[in-house]
């Protein structure tokens, strides 16, 4: 059985600058981390491995610096890493990203289960998982927070729908996106970092993919047009009500009246 985890390198800080000319995020290579949701995806993939011994490979799309998160995934317990990297992939929106990942996964060989984090903390769309499943032509379940059972030909998972849980059985090959849950993702192992210090992750460039139609990748393959990108206005003005609790409500009401909100 083969499991593939999709991961992404994201800015480590929420205070990210935006290039006013290009309207893109200015990515600081020194201040990055693995998307927090993807840590849970890795944890879940490695749980599957514990239940039913299998091969867990991590894949990411990004610049060469994104190798760092593939190494981190290997230190956590993944068996191998694949970096989709090519200038032709740059500027991809969710559709192009999902398509590129689908091509990368096909390049990796047979895959029974694809695991994604629910969303990333930079794009925040939570669309890539579902679109990736579409391009791979496989069923998917979102918001999975627990694996109930791993069977020979299917997996039983619990999906968290906020107010209810749903238990679903889904046949392989399939895709799940993982919600944060109370299982803290395992820590990277120093021992594995030494063991894999000479290990090279696989660089997958455009020309290695099955589909070499450039119109499907990067900016060319992205139907999303970003009109404008800007930092949200931060308003740090605040009023502290330092008195006793009982009078908070009336103080607040007075303030709101003053401002003519009520």
């Amino acid at each position: 059985m083969n499991v593939c985890v999709c991961i992404k390198q994201v800015p480590a800080s929420s205070n990210v600058k935006i290039d006013p000319v290009n309207g893109t995020l200015v990515r600081d290579g020194n201040n990055t981390k693995m998307n927090p949701y993807d840590l849970y995806a890795i944890e879940m993939a490695l749980k599957v491995k514990e239940i039913n011994d299998c091969n867990v490979k991590a894949i990411t799309m990004g610049p060469p610096a994104a190798t760092a998160i593939l190494q981190e995934a290997i230190w956590m317990g993944c068996d191998d890493g694949y970096l989709l990297t090519d200038r032709k992939f740059a500027g991809a929106d969710v559709v192009a990203t999902a398509y590129t990942l689908s091509q990368g996964i096909k390049y990796m060989g047979k895959c029974d289960l694809v695991v994604c984090g629910k969303q990333t903390t930079d794009g925040d769309t939570a669309q890539v998982g579902a679109e990736l499943a579409h391009f791979l032509g496989i069923p998917y379940v979102c918001y999975v927070d627990k694996i109930i059972e791993v069977k020979d030909k299917s997996i039983v998972v619990r999906t968290n729908l906020d107010k209810t849980y749903e238990i679903l059985e889904i046949a392989f090959p399939c895709l799940i996106t993982v919600e944060k849950n109370n299982e803290s993702p395992r820590l990277p192992s120093y021992k594995r970092s030494v063991q894999y210090s000479d290990h090279q992750v696989h660089n997958v460039t455009f020309d290695k993919l099955f589909d070499v139609d450039e119109s499907r990748y990067g900016l060319n393959g992205s139907p999303t047009q970003v009109e404008k990108m800007f930092n949200p206005i931060k308003d740090d003005r605040k009023v502290m009500l330092n008195d006793e609790t009982e009078s908070y409500a009336s103080q607040l009401a007075e303030l709101l009246k003053d401002k003519k909100y009520i």
């Binding site: 993702p185 990277p188 192992s189």
Partner: protein, 465 residues
């Protein structure tokens, strides 16, 4: 000996305070009769939420003139009954004196009122690129409480304790005088250090109304290694070797899987690694990522190659630090919530004796058939040992407790340790301290107390009395 507070006293004192800050009799909430451990309970006659040094001064003057006992408290997170009003009288709560008064970037000091909580100090200084090093587990304690007990915490291995980070204090003496001890200076050879006498005096000498803390630039990079061992013996035996190897750690913490499980249950959040019996948690700092990697790699290599560690897990990101250190910070509460009653022993022993001392607690556990979980700052020799009542009756528990404590303190003293590393003596441990220090030192302490507080009105019955 003391004057029992009567209606005249209440009438007078109530004129000094707004009624919302002044409580008497049944209006005093139960919490103000005890501390975190809860074993010692005594309700004060009057509870006042003071807001500045002048208010405290006027109360102290009145109490001193009338021989009314006064006890000061902050968040009440103490563990030795230090803030319990043994003789009744007045409790002054400083929790409303919670302002951060000044960040002096030229002198690298932070001036605070005593009711500021420890985590508020971290938030304030760290968001501005500075660092306050003492790191006691109880982050909701007030800085006043930390100063009173000379709290230490996890980074004491490298940075020392609260005493090393307080450069000045404003205090109200028992007679109501307001004095400044220490200044915003780095060096001080100016006579006896009255500031240092106040630190660790558990509210028996003066009331702290302002503290000038030392701060430093925040370390650029920090990282912890969670080092698992197959057996607790392997983990314990590794501690002295890690200390000897001079790995430049800021913290060396020891804990067992059982404690992790209690903490998971308490926090409702899984610990990222619990496959091994025992763990040592090491923390490193560096000016840059390369230096940090060099430091932690050297430690990991020694732990794995020479000290039987199974691995060394890297706790590098904020999320990972949170998942590990939050659990570590909750150990006391987790143990407490696992049983009906606990009592604790906070001995400090020479670092070379830590391993043997932890083993000794296991012997006691078997000998008295009682659960004695422990964890602690292995790197500085300060252990937190908890005796859990579980299914024993109160009387049975007390009887076992006495014997276990006797053995623990006797052993600690015999290997060159001290009764308390950071929780203080308060009421609960004074018997053991007296036994260790002997008459001469206790007389010296009482002499100091008498100079500060001739009428013995401040926190009577504590420490050396």
């Amino acid at each position: 000996m003391y004057k029992k507070i009567d209606q005249n006293d209440i009438t007078y004192l109530s004129t000094l305070f707004d009624e919302k800050y002044f409580f008497t009799g049944d209006d005093i909430p139960e919490d103000y009769s005890k501390d975190e451990l809860g074993a010692l309970v005594r309700k004060p006659d009057v509870l006042i939420f003071v807001r500045n040094a002048n208010e405290i001064s006027s109360v102290m003057k009145y109490a001193n003139d009338n021989k009314i006992p006064v006890v000061v408290r902050g968040s009440g997170t103490g563990l030795v009954g230090g803030c319990v009003a043994l003789e009744g009288g007045i409790v002054l709560c400083t929790s409303k004196m919670n302002k951060i008064l000044e960040l002096d970037e030229n002198n690298l000091t932070l001036t605070v009122e005593p009711g500021v909580l420890l985590f508020e100090i971290y938030q304030y200084v760290e968001s501005r690129g500075y660092f306050y090093a003492p790191d006691p587990g109880e982050k909701t304690a007030t800085i006043g409480g930390n100063i009173s007990t000379n709290a230490g915490g996890m980074r004491a291995v490298k940075y020392g304790t609260t005493r090393d980070w307080v450069v000045g204090l404003e205090v109200v003496l028992p007679n109501g005088k307001i004095e400044q001890f220490g200044k915003k200076v780095v060096k001080d050879s100016t006579g006896y250090s009255l500031k240092n006498l106040i630190i660790g005096s558990e509210g028996t000498l003066a009331v702290v109304t302002k503290a000038i803390l030392k701060i430093t630039p925040k370390p650029k990079e920090t990282l912890s290694l969670l080092v698992p061992f197959e057996t607790r013996e392997d983990a314990i035996d590794a501690v002295p070797e890690i200390i000897k190897a001079q790995l430049n750690t800021t913290a060396i913490e020891f804990f067992e899987r059982n404690t992790i499980l209690l903490s998971e249950e308490f926090l409702g959040k899984k610990f990222p690694e619990k496959r091994s019996d025992a763990y040592i948690l090491l923390t490193f700092e560096g000016h840059n990522k390369q230096e940090l990697k060099f430091n932690y790699s050297a430690a990991a290599e020694i732990c794995i190659r020479e000290l039987k560690a199974i691995d060394a897990y890297i706790v590098d990101t904020d999320d990972r630090k949170d998942s590990v250190w939050k659990a570590r910070g909750a150990f006391l509460e987790a143990i407490k919530s696992s049983t009906v009653e606990i009592d604790e022993c906070d001995v400090v022993v020479p670092r070379s004796e830590v391993a043997e001392f932890i083993k000794f607690t296991y012997e006691l556990q078997a000998k008295y058939n009682i659960r004695i979980p422990s964890f602690g700052h292995a790197g500085d020799g300060n252990l937190h040992i908890y005796i859990c009542r579980d299914n024993y009756t109160k009387d049975e528990f007390n009887s076992i407790l006495e014997q276990v404590f006797d053995e623990l303190y006797e052993r600690a003293i015999s290997v060159g340790g001290l009764v308390s590393g950071e929780h203080g003596i308060g009421y609960a441990k004074k018997h053991y301290m007296k036994r260790q220090l002997g008459d001469t030192q206790i007389e010296l302490m009482n002499g100091i107390k008498k100079v500060f507080d001739p009428n013995n009105i401040l926190n009577p019955g504590k420490i050396c009395q």
